[in-house]
């Protein structure tokens, strides 16, 4: 039976290691691309450049250059040394996301090893399972702060799960500081912070209150300092403007997709949650998993959110399922003598000897099933094309990509493909248009402006958020549009406030469309005859 187990484990390992290979190929490809791949990356770069110049990116968006960030600063501050040495570039932000993904995966593996009967192989597969997730694959190698937040959260949770029961003050303090760091990387970390504070409070209310008060004090002190330093723009731009509309259908479809892709590990994770609830003590991982899945799932339905909102729950799922498998294979169950234990023990007694043996077969099959369920493969990458041919895998979505999730789910990021030389040429062409423009350029993505050495003007989605929240005064921007002060306007998703779009449609006309990365970029120039009639 041991030989069969090892063979199956080897099979599962090959599938999950292949997911790691695909992830590496995807990351290397993205690092070589000097423009936005996922919309919004360029503005993370702008934030980094602001910090590298010692300026806050939380500014009054009603005045030129109409720019503000809507994200906390830590991710961008961490990249400042790169900005000093290499100037504005996308590769180091994507590299940071890649490294953060590996840190999160390694921490998951360590947690499974430490808290799950020291099973090295299972621990390694649990870490690889995190990388194999389609949702992690999307967000990991982007110049976005999300996965860095998840890495901070994961390290914090794994440290706190050990330090709090041990009453290790340094460990608890460090874990809570890491949670503060996660929160100042992205606001969504509030969910994980809530889970951690709830767990320590339930573990011991007195100590929970003391540590919770310290945590809140540090968090609020930083918050207050930033708000004063930015003359209130931190509050307006990063908090008020981030309250977006909720679409229940998007949340539902994404939750269903999360289940369809990750069900092989969600079920074991849930079984461990139930076991802990009724037979042992509740672990921090269980509280984190449930709260991150429920609140992250609800949050995924807000405008601008998406599948990435499940990544914290996926990290918790990998830890819980890994611990469950390790304990199963080691028969490491020590249920408390409760009424349920007395009820179930006689029922399970006949199967007691067969269960560990069954685990030898079922555990690797579940990992393998998960690897197949989350399978994705860009079929046009030089290194992967022969494998796609060998496995006879055809693209099932646009852009030469096979994605087990398909791209039919509302809110699911339609990325993951490998870029082509044509994409690069299209980006260079748009950048050349910007460089040769006879005046400032309003571009919906920042990469073209950087490539052309031009100033970045506006952060469209932020203006849209502010407009929807009734916090935007577009008089100056609309005036510039009406006066044809922009030599070029580049639109992609048209995520500007409606009044700005109306002004653009009225005073600018379509010049050409350039397709890059599967998206159509509309190039607009001032109308020779104004359609406003005035």
């Amino acid at each position: 039976m041991k030989i069969v187990h090892r063979g199956l484990m080897l099979g599962a390992s090959i599938i999950l290691l292949f997911a790691l290979l695909v992830f590496v190929v995807y990351t290397v490809d993205l690092m070589r691309f000097p423009y936005d791949y996922d919309q919004g990356e360029g503005f993370e770069l702008v934030d980094t450049m602001y910090f590298s110049e010692g300026r806050w990116p939380y500014q009054n968006t009603d005045a030129f250059p109409f720019y503000s960030s809507n994200y906390p600063p830590l991710f961008h501050v961490m990249l400042v040394p790169f900005a000093w040495f290499f100037g504005p570039a996308y590769w180091y932000g994507r590299l940071a996301g890649f490294v953060a993904t590996l840190i999160a995966a390694a921490t998951i593996g360590y947690a499974v090893y430490r808290d799950g009967s020291q099973k090295r192989w299972i621990a390694a597969l649990a870490g690889l399972a995190f990388i194999s997730s389609n949702f992690v694959y999307h967000i990991g190698p982007l110049f976005r702060q999300h996965i860095t937040m998840v890495a901070f959260e994961t390290v914090a949770i794994v440290l706190l799960a050990w330090a709090f029961p041990q009453r290790n003050r340094v460990g608890i303090g460090l874990a809570l500081l890491l949670l503060v760091a996660a929160g100042y990387t992205k606001q969504l970390a509030a969910i994980t912070a809530l889970a951690a504070l709830l767990w320590i409070f339930l573990r011991n209310p007195r100590r929970g209150l003391v540590w919770g008060a310290a945590f809140v004090t540090v968090g609020l002190a930083i918050f207050g300092w930033m708000n004063v330093s930015t003359h209130g723009e931190w509050w307006r731009q990063a908090i008020q403007a981030n309250v977006n509309a909720f679409d229940a259908l998007q949340a539902f479809y994404l939750a269903r997709l999360w289940w369809q892709l990750h069900g092989f590990l969600i079920v074991p994770a849930l079984l461990l949650v139930l076991y802990e609830l009724y037979f042992e003590r509740i672990s921090l991982y269980s509280v984190w998993f449930v709260i991150a899945a429920v609140l992250g799932g609800i949050g995924s339905g807000t405008w601008g959110a998406g599948d990435s909102y499940f990544t914290s729950a996926i990290a918790a799922m990998c830890i819980l399922s890994g611990v469950f498998f390790s304990r199963w294979l080691s028969s490491d169950w020590k249920p408390n003598p409760t009424v349920y234990q007395r009820f179930f023990a006689p029922l399970l007694r006949p199967a007691q000897s067969a269960l560990p043996t069954a685990g030898l077969i079922i555990v690797p099959l579940l990992f393998a099933g998960y690897g197949v369920a989350t399978f994705k493969l860009p079929t046009n990458a030089p290194l992967l094309r022969p494998i796609a041919d060998l496995l006879r895998i055809e693209p099932n979505v646009d852009q030469q990509l096979y994605d087990s999730a398909s791209h039919n789910v509302l809110g699911y990021a339609q990325i993951g493909h490998i870029l082509t030389p044509e994409d690069r040429a299209a980006g260079d062409y748009i950048a050349a248009l910007v460089a040769n423009a006879d005046g400032p350029v309003l571009s919906e993505e920042a990469g073209f402006s950087y490539a052309a050495g031009r100033e970045v003007i506006t952060n469209p989605t932020q203006l849209l958020n502010l407009w929807r929240a009734g916090l935007w005064d577009g008089t100056e921007l609309i005036g510039m549009i009406e006066n044809h002060e922009f030599a070029l306007i580049i639109l992609r998703a048209q995520f500007y406030p409606e009044p700005a779009l109306v002004a653009i449609a009225t005073h600018y006309e379509h010049s050409e469309t350039v397709t890059m990365n599967g998206f159509n970029y509309q190039i607009l120039r001032p109308r020779t005859t104004d359609s406003s009639g005035g």
Binding site: P165, Q166, R167, N168, R169, V170, G171, L202, R203, N204, P205, R206, R207, A248, L277, Y278, R281, I282, N336, T338, V339, Y340
Partner: protein, 89 residues
């Protein structure tokens, strides 16, 4: 590394009289009772929400239904925790 108590870890107690001590941990029965309390109160509020706001047209909305379902689930969860007695959470 420093520890609050390097020599021995205090044994947790679930006695409510010790709620302010650093040994206290809520029992599963206490948490069960709390779940039932929140579930019942939440259920009453959600069911009577339309009466309170005067918006009685169209019956319960989707969010209201999800909320009511969650409250019922919370009560059921609480009931299953009650037999666990003084087992620490």
């Amino acid at each position: 590394m420093q520890t609050e108590d390097k020599i021995t870890q205090p044994t947790p107690t679930t006695k409510l009289s010790a709620w302010a001590s650093d040994r206290y941990t809520p029992s599963k029965r206490h948490i069960g009772l709390l779940c039932i309390l929140i579930g019942v109160l939440g259920f009453i509020v959600l069911v009577s929400l339309d009466q309170i706001t005067g918006n009685t047209v169209g019956g319960y909305g989707p969010s209201q239904r999800v909320g009511i379902g969650t409250m019922i689930g919370l009560v059921l969860l609480g009931l299953t925790l009650l037999p666990l007695g003084d087992d620490p959470l």
